[in-house]
Amino acid sequence: MSTRLATGGRLLNKSRALTFTFNGKTMKGYEGDTLASALLANDQMLVGRSFKYHRPRGIVASGAEEPNGLVNLGQGGRFEPNQRVTTTELFDGLTAKSQNHWPSLEFDVGAVNTQLSRFMPAGFYYKTFMYPRPLWKHVYEPFIRKAAGLGAAPKDRDDDTYEHFYAFCDVLVIGGGVAGLQAAKAAADTGAHVMLIEQTAHWGGRASVDGGEVAGKPVDNFVDETVAALEAMENVTLRRRMMGAGVYDHGYVLGYERLTDHAPEAAGPRHRLWRIRAAQIVTATGAIERPLSFAGNDIPGVMLASAVRDYVTDFGVSPGDRTVVVTNNDNAYLTAIALKNAGLDVPAILDARVLPTDSALMAQAKSLGIRVLMGCGVSKVQGGKRVTGVSICSQAGEGAVLEEISCDVIAMSGGWSPVVHLWSHCGGKLVWDADQAAFKPDVDKAPTGADGKPFVTAAGAASGALLLGDVLADADGAGKAAATATGHAPGQSAAQAPVASHAPEAPMAPVWLMPQGAGIKLRSKAWLDYQNDVKVSDVQLAAQEGFQSVEHAKRYTTLGMATDQGKLSNINGLAILSDSLNQPIPQTGTTTFRPPYTPISMGAIGGEARGDVFQPVRRTPIHDWNAENGAEWEPVGQWRRPYAYVRSGESTHDAVMRETKNARDNLGLLDASTLGKIIVRGPDAGKFLDMMYTNMMSTLKVGKCRYGLMCDENGFLIDDGVVARIDDDTWLCHTTTGGAERIHGHMEEWLQTEWWTWQVYVANVTEQYAQIAVVGPNARKALEHLGGMDVSADTMGFMDWADGTLGGFDVRVFRISFSGELSYEIAVKASQGQALWDALMAVGADLGVMPYGTECLHILRAEKGFIMIGDESDGTVIPQDLGLHWAISKKKEDFIGKRGQERSHMVDPTRWQLVGLETVDKSTLPDGAYAVADGTNANGQRETQGRVTSTYHSPNLDRGIAMGLVLNGPDRMGEVLSFPGTDGKEYKAKIVSPVFYDPEGEKPNV
């Protein structure tokens, strides 16, 4: 069993005990524990079930590489699945639950899959669930969905807050082990602005556990002294609990800082996502120990050798009483020695190598009385939910058992792989290091910046320098090189790296399968990827079935595709693949490393963007009044416009009908502030606008307005609006609400890229003004009640504008109409928008005033056959389709879209044309419905001959009215078309003129 030792635990504060629960069971730990060490201290080795076969799984590692120990953490608004026990710091009151089992961790029904495993090999899903096709939707897919995923999805809104932070530095050092500390110091000594980040809560990485001396003193001293020196430097920032998540182009790095995960009651955001621009990046990310592939290597109790000694040294936890060490290198001997020194039993070290003489570490182990079996390996692990023993065999053989040893922990080491992830994110290449049997950064093929020069340097173990003596020299060089690249060269007298020493080690020997001649039975129990349940036999099957590319084999077997991204399985898997393909490992290559290094929270990615500030909502000066007066909102771009002002006891439809009738009978007010307003000024402004619009704007007289259309280069309609000439050199162009920024940008683009010699300036003044449309037979009376300027028909005719005062407000009044009623649009400074609105409501009280929303606006314009950008136009429609020939100048030599509109397809007489559509039974046509024609097309679909672009119930005509584009429409007046609805009904509508209401245009002309 695993338990807490009486002594040891360098990271613990034993004076502060903490209580937590696992699967409802109350357990105890200490401040400084990770959830993993605390679970082990409570003899909880079994922490989860595997994804596919539901095999019992225990803690394997002690850091970010842990594949098995994933739990559902927290409750309610703090619930989060797939949290790694090895990187979760223990806090008082923590609650954790294991994942992927039913009904319980100890007894899991899904474990029957393990019995069926020979029927569920690699590619099982692809092979099995293809046929028969209908079963996919109804049987397979629901089943797979239920089985998929490890943790449970959160159900409650997240209680925590998150934020981003933009930081800039010369040199960013990622990783706070001895390499990172030395690199940071070397870089900082040059005066460069340095940032050093470390994913755990502690500086020094593995050095304190693995030992060694720096400058004749224990390595711990070096760590403490260097941290103190860096903390004292003005040009250095140190952050712990902050992971380098990803490296991107131009020295952009995402740093994931976990602020309150270890102290959930603290104020402030939970995570902070740092968006860092670093001129140079040093990756001092260390190395990860590899598992060995032998039968039963996934049984709880089989752990990485380094993790076993971490638990003993850092947390004072014994993973078990009797530990057998199995290794292909010297480094794992440190584990045996640490265990022995802690008073625990090490029955044997199985060393797959056969060496002529003992290395220093071997001799030390032997002197402690540990039995060392050379040339030996594991044939098979005994046990189910916990290791009970190990069968020993000769590594060179096929697994014949030489001896059985009872034990409860197996500490394995297959050598070390440099953490090359961050080096690789942005294109850094790797080389194969045959001595270490690992990929390491290829210094000649670093990620390069815009100047073609490298911007990432690997340091220490991450660059392949695994031993302490080599680490510091390598890191010192990396720090100085990075600083130099930012223009901070170290001086002649710059300090050199301190000399470090470590016990000499004998060379490791690559072992990819144990024993090397293991038969299929053993190979199908030798796990590569614990989280996704991929075995040696699966990768071999993939190779056999022709998946030769490592990327294909990965996807076919799912090797390395779990949330740990194959941190443990990658090299072992591709070694097996290479062996199966009979090619050297470098030829097989690796899969692509992608950010983030380990998963980061969705909350951190979203940052502050949630709740009130999820998205900007643009508000007009009259927004609050609208909200208080029943506005039902319609999003128009980022604006919110009132769809209708709904009174109590009234349906939305009722409100729309009421507003639409009232605007024709009495007086309506529309908040039109969102309309785009662009000033165009300069000696060439008229010439410019003649190019922008399809009709002539240069001839417009000062004081007059003109409706205009804008097209893109291909001739398609992109916007419309009223243009007013303000003075000789100045025009004011109104755009649609959604078009303001777009059309402003369109104008700037043409001015800056094509006509840069023209003397024209534009400015977007949309928000400077509140604009209110005063609409209806009583519109003039309302303005006269306000008083201050002459708005009579004689003084201000249709399409005139004038500056003046109304009710004491400085206003600009446009006599224009988008409703077919007598109508004025009044612009006032935004700061007075609400006051003017209040004044109009007051004077309108006796005139039957009602505010109206966008749906009423739509019906009013549709009754008059006025087109709406986005309804009648959709990016494929030219003005000619809409019967707007009158707005297209024949006199102008050119305008944007002119040549486009002359192309053969644009002058094709069979282009669908705008018409009005009047239902035979007065019902309302479904929006977007198609008019069907005889016959079917090549796909067996009904032929069509038109479609509905706008459709409403008109309260003024008491019938459904619509506009649509119809084949030869204007020539087919009176013809009845058929529109099948999605409701199964067939709607009949007659082709009519699109002008339904007041066709003579008498109403506004008063």
Binding site: T161, E163, H164, F165, Y166, A167, F168, E234, T237, A266, A267, G268, P269, R272, R275, R277, G607, E608, A609, D612, V613, Q615, P616, V617, R618, R619, T620, P621, Q638, W639, I679, R681, G682, P683, Q759, Y761, V762, A763, V765, T766, E767, Q768, Y769, G808, K829, A830, S831, Q832, Q834, A835
Partner: protein, 191 residues
């Protein structure tokens, strides 16, 4: 007139790690023209009493100032009630020049973000190096504040003036409040 109301009517938040305040109406005039021409330069400087700023900079003195917006655009600051007079004066200076000058005071909202943590609060929202060494008094940035356009400068040490579009004022205020939430000190900027 008493009915003139800025976007948030001087709303303030003082419970966080920095203070946020909408400062009310500020006169602003967009001036576009050839910034090298003496007519444009004198139109801007004569009405504000401050010198022409270098690219990326702003010169201000109380409610007067000139902000460099782009190679052919300035933002001229003046008291809100002096806008009409200022436009008229600029019109005279620019009578013979090709230029555009237009009142945009009501199209904007202006915030003050102040306190010892003001820099790091803003650095949570804008992709700009706001360290004391990099962003100094006199600098001016048109940038992005989370999801909206914003421009800002240091009005006083530890005190930013931030200009947004008026329609975004509520979002900008709420955003600054979130970024200034208690307990969210970053501690990145030294000295």
């Amino acid at each position: 007139m008493s009915n003139i109301v800025s976007a948030l009517n001087n709303k303030a938040y003082a419970d966080g790690i920095a203070e946020v305040r909408e400062i009310g109406l500020q006169g602003m005039i967009t001036l576009r023209g050839d910034l090298a021409s003496s007519a444009v330069k004198s139109a801007a400087t004569s009405v504000t009493g401050v010198k022409m700023p270098a690219p990326g900079h702003a010169n201000s003195d109380g409610q007067h100032g000139i902000c460099w917006m782009s190679p052919d655009e300035l933002l001229v600051l003046c008291p809100y009630d002096a806008v009409a007079d200022t436009l008229e004066k600029m019109g005279k200076s620019l009578a013979k020049a090709h230029a555009l000058y237009v009142d945009v005071s009501d199209a904007r909202a202006v915030f003050e973000l102040s306190g010892p943590h003001a820099r790091e609060v803003l650095a949570k929202l804008v992709p700009v190096d706001l360290s004391p060494a990099a962003f100094t008094s006199g600098m001016f940035r048109r940038s992005r504040m989370a999801q909206i356009p914003a421009a800002f400068w240091l009005h006083a040490p530890d005190s930013f003036r931030i200009v947004t579009f008026r329609s975004n004022a509520q979002y900008a205020f709420d955003l600054l409040k979130v970024a200034a939430q208690p307990g969210s000190e970053v501690g990145y900027f030294k000295g």
